[in-house]
């Protein structure tokens, strides 16, 4: 059906003319950067006319899709109400039906437990990384998705956790399990310390200040050699201990994997409970309308601060596990782009939705691992994902189900 409409649109001459204009415009736009490449050292100029043809054809096709989806989105705003019922996704149907829910959960549990034994060590490692991202993305989800505060320096708390473990271990020999709560606590304190002055700011200022804060932390770690060992980082961080047993590489990887599964489950549980709690509802209300919320007697600063600090706590925990998993950290792991990848996960999956964030993490962390050939395009694609998601589907892949009251007609 959709294809039919698309084809019917294609036939219109006006549309073709429009797309042709777009195509010519983009060929002009990308000419110096895509076609010419200069090597000022060797004084060679390379002409790549092939790229121009690619851009021309590509934008010609994309402009059709772009207009089609934009139109569809605008029309969709009207008939959304009518087929609300039929649009209930597979996930909600599973969630609603007990008969389906239980087998699905069992299947998922079996798969999770069997994963490291069925697949190779490499796969298990990737999966553990993915789980770390799930945990910290869920933490960021509290800040962005629930409370609506755009935090671009989130990775700073991640760094705080990681350095907490590395330094405490280096200087005092503290173990993983001791540092995990300490790291979380320090990140929590950092969240409050940073949050206290900046949370009075409006949304977009907050984004810039947190971005600045993230960069400050990274630059300090890079330059303060006496404290953080500078850009060379800290190596030989011990892996998490298992009651003092020394594990082989294989078993320690599997152990980290299960550790992350446990942490992820814990996070999902807590975030889910938080979402429906008094404070969670206050976050959502604050996100929707700050003034109305204050008028209803919600303490704005305190509510925002809790969201900020709780988000930071999860980043701190993720950081401790990250340091223990990779056994080596340096400031280069904590650039602003890391924050943006996490932001991407939350935005792609669906702000405020737990299932969405998990899906987002799987897509954005696992896909680039398996599509190694495209790895250099990774950040480019992330940029495209952010823009297109915001333009066409701001609620994400799996959108958050709003709590609503429904009045049902009683059958007589």
């Amino acid at each position: 059906m959709a294809i039919y409409i698309l084809v019917k649109k294609l036939v219109k001459l006006k549309e073709i003319k429009k797309s042709l204009m777009v195509s010519v415009w983009f060929m002009f736009l990308t000419f110096p950067i895509m076609v010419i490449r200069v090597n000022t050292v060797k004084d060679i100029i390379e002409w790549r006319w092939k790229n121009m043809a690619l851009v021309g054809v590509g934008t010609f096709v994309f402009s059709f899709l772009w207009r089609y989806f934009l139109e569809k989105k605008e029309m969709g705003d009207h008939d959304d109400e009518s087929d609300e019922k039929s649009k209930v996704g597979l996930l909600d149907r599973i969630r609603g039906d007990k008969k389906l829910l239980i087998p699905c959960l069992i299947l998922l549990a079996v798969f999770t437990i069997a994963f490291p034994f069925v697949f190779s060590l490499y796969q298990t490692n990737i999966m553990a990384t993915c789980l770390i991202y799930i945990v910290i993305a869920l933490g960021l989800n509290i800040v962005i998705g629930l409370a609506g505060l755009l935090d671009l320096g989130y990775v700073a708390f991640y760094a705080v956790g990681a350095y907490c473990y590395a330094l405490l271990n280096h200087h005092f020999g503290l173990g993983f399990w001791t540092v995990l709560p300490i790291g979380a606590g320090v990140a929590f304190l950092c969240g409050i310390l940073l949050g206290f002055p900046v949370l009075r700011l409006r949304g977009d200022y907050l984004a810039i200040v947190t971005l600045g804060f993230g960069e400050i932390i990274r630059l300090v770690l890079e330059n303060w050699n006496a404290f953080s060992f500078g850009p060379s980082g800290i190596a030989n961080i011990p892996k998490p201990g298992f009651f003092g047993l020394s594990l082989s590489l294989r078993w320690s990887t599997i152990y980290v994997y299960f550790l992350m599964v446990g942490l992820a489950l814990f996070t999902i549980f807590v975030v889910n409970r938080l979402k429906d709690s008094r404070i969670g509802r206050a976050w959502i209300a604050l996100r929707e309308d700050e003034i109305a919320c204050q008028a209803m007697g919600v303490d704005k600063t305190k509510t925002k601060l809790t969201a900020f600090a709780l988000g930071a706590t999860w980043a701190g925990m993720g950081g401790v596990v990250f340091a223990a998993k990779t056994t080596f950290i340096n400031p280069a792991s904590f650039t602003i782009w890391e924050s943006i990848i996490i932001l991407c996960i939350v935005v792609l999956g669906g702000m405020g939705s737990i299932a969405g964030v998990i899906t987002g993490a799987f897509i954005l962390i696992l896909l680039p691992e398996y599509l190694r050939a495209f790895s250099e395009y990774r950040m480019l694609i992330f940029g495209v994902v952010l823009v297109t998601m915001m333009v066409f589907k701001p609620e994400g892949i799996i959108s958050n189900v709003r709590r609503t009251y429904q009045f049902k007609k009683v059958k007589e």
């Binding site: 415009w25 983009f26 002009f28 736009l29 990308t30 110096p32 950067i33 895509m34 010419i36 490449r37 200069v38 000022t40 050292v41 004084d43 100029i45 790229n51 934009l70 962005i144 609506g148 755009l150 671009l152 002055p197 900046v198 009075r200 700011l201 949304g203 977009d204 200022y205 984004a207 810039i208 200040v209 971005l211 600045g212 804060f213 960069e215 400050i216 630059l219 300090v220 330059n223 003034i291 109305a292 782009w337 943006i340 932001l343 935005v347 250099e376 395009y377 950040m379 480019l380 992330f382 940029g383 495209v384 994902v385 952010l386 823009v387 915001m390 333009v391 701001p394």
Partner: protein, 300 residues
């Protein structure tokens, strides 16, 4: 004293460049209340275009004056075109969406443009030809100021004056001010709001491109990443002066340029960027409206 003067002029140059970029931020923010994250990238693209066009023309054997003229023109035209297109793709569909959406879209655009240049060109630093000639009359003072610094300061001053005149006196400027005050009302009295927004993006991008070429030719090298830090710092400057206000952007840029210059000159150069960010945090805490901005309270 001479060292002080050197730092003072260095700070002035730095501040002038920040001002050229900050203007774009402040104008766009004034009109659609959006932090245009991709603005730094527009500046970087301007510098890249100038470098590419200049290299090609030099290779073809054109005289240096023609090369400079065409490279400047090309950079300004291309940057404006990029600014215009970015607005059409990433911001226009989101004009009535929550501000968070537009901001995320802007971040995505910035990420995209950076990687686009990285993949299409190179990740290495490219040496940038010195497009600005050495003036004879600067020779005696060459230990404290170079001719490129003079050109930067002079062109910023000229751009500033032209822009102020444009906003104050012309019809376009009037339409801009009207749109900034109240978009709906401006539409009602017959202002073509879409066109005004496009014009703002084009003007902002053009000044950013100018800044891009000037700084690249002053520093002597560019890569795909220069836009990001410069963009953030220019934003700091715009906020410092009071975002939305054109004289504020200039004042903020100069203050930031001087503080950075003196800080690195007298204290330490390792923490230069830390200092800029710390400055931003402090301003926003103590004077969120900036030096020249008015604090407005939100009304229901």
């Amino acid at each position: 004293m001479e060292y002080f003067l050197e730092l003072f002029l260095g700070g002035l140059t730095r501040g002038s460049i920040y001002a050229l970029i900050a203007l774009g931020y402040t104008m766009v923010y004034g009109i659609i209340q959006l932090i245009n994250f991709a603005h730094g990238e527009i500046y970087m693209i301007g510098a890249f275009t100038a470098l590419i066009i200049a290299s090609v023309l030099t290779k073809l054997g054109m005289g240096s004056f023609g090369v400079i003229l065409i490279a400047f023109a090309a950079a300004i035209i291309y940057s404006s075109a990029y600014g215009f297109t970015v607005e059409k793709i990433a911001y226009k569909p989101l004009r009535n969406a929550p501000r968070l959406s537009a901001l995320i879209s802007a971040i995505g655009m910035s990420l995209f443009l950076q990687n686009y240049v990285l993949l299409a060109q190179t990740s290495d630093f490219l040496p940038f030809p010195s497009l600005i000639p050495e003036f004879e009359f600067v020779k005696p003072f060459s230990h404290i100021i170079s001719s490129s610094e003079i050109v930067i300061i002079a062109s910023t001053t000229i751009v500033m004056i032209l822009l102020t005149l444009l906003i104050k006196l012309t019809k376009t400027g009037k339409a801009m001010r009207a749109t900034a005050q109240d978009k709906d009302m401006a539409m009602l009295v017959g202002v073509d709001v879409n066109r005004v927004i496009s014009t703002t993006f084009i003007i902002g991008s053009a000044t950013a491109a100018l800044g891009g070429i000037l700084i690249a030719s002053h520093v002597g090298q560019i890569n795909f990443y220069i836009g990001f830090i410069a963009g953030i710092k220019a934003f700091v400057a715009a906020v410092l002066g009071g975002i939305g206000s054109v004289p504020g952007a200039v004042l903020g840029s100069l203050v930031l340029g001087w503080t950075e210059s003196f800080f690195t000159g007298y204290v330490s150069s390792d923490y230069e960027d830390v200092f800029a960010f710390l400055f931003l945090v402090l301003i926003l805490i103590f004077r969120p409206a900036g030096l020249l901005g008015r604090s407005t309270s939100e009304k229901v």
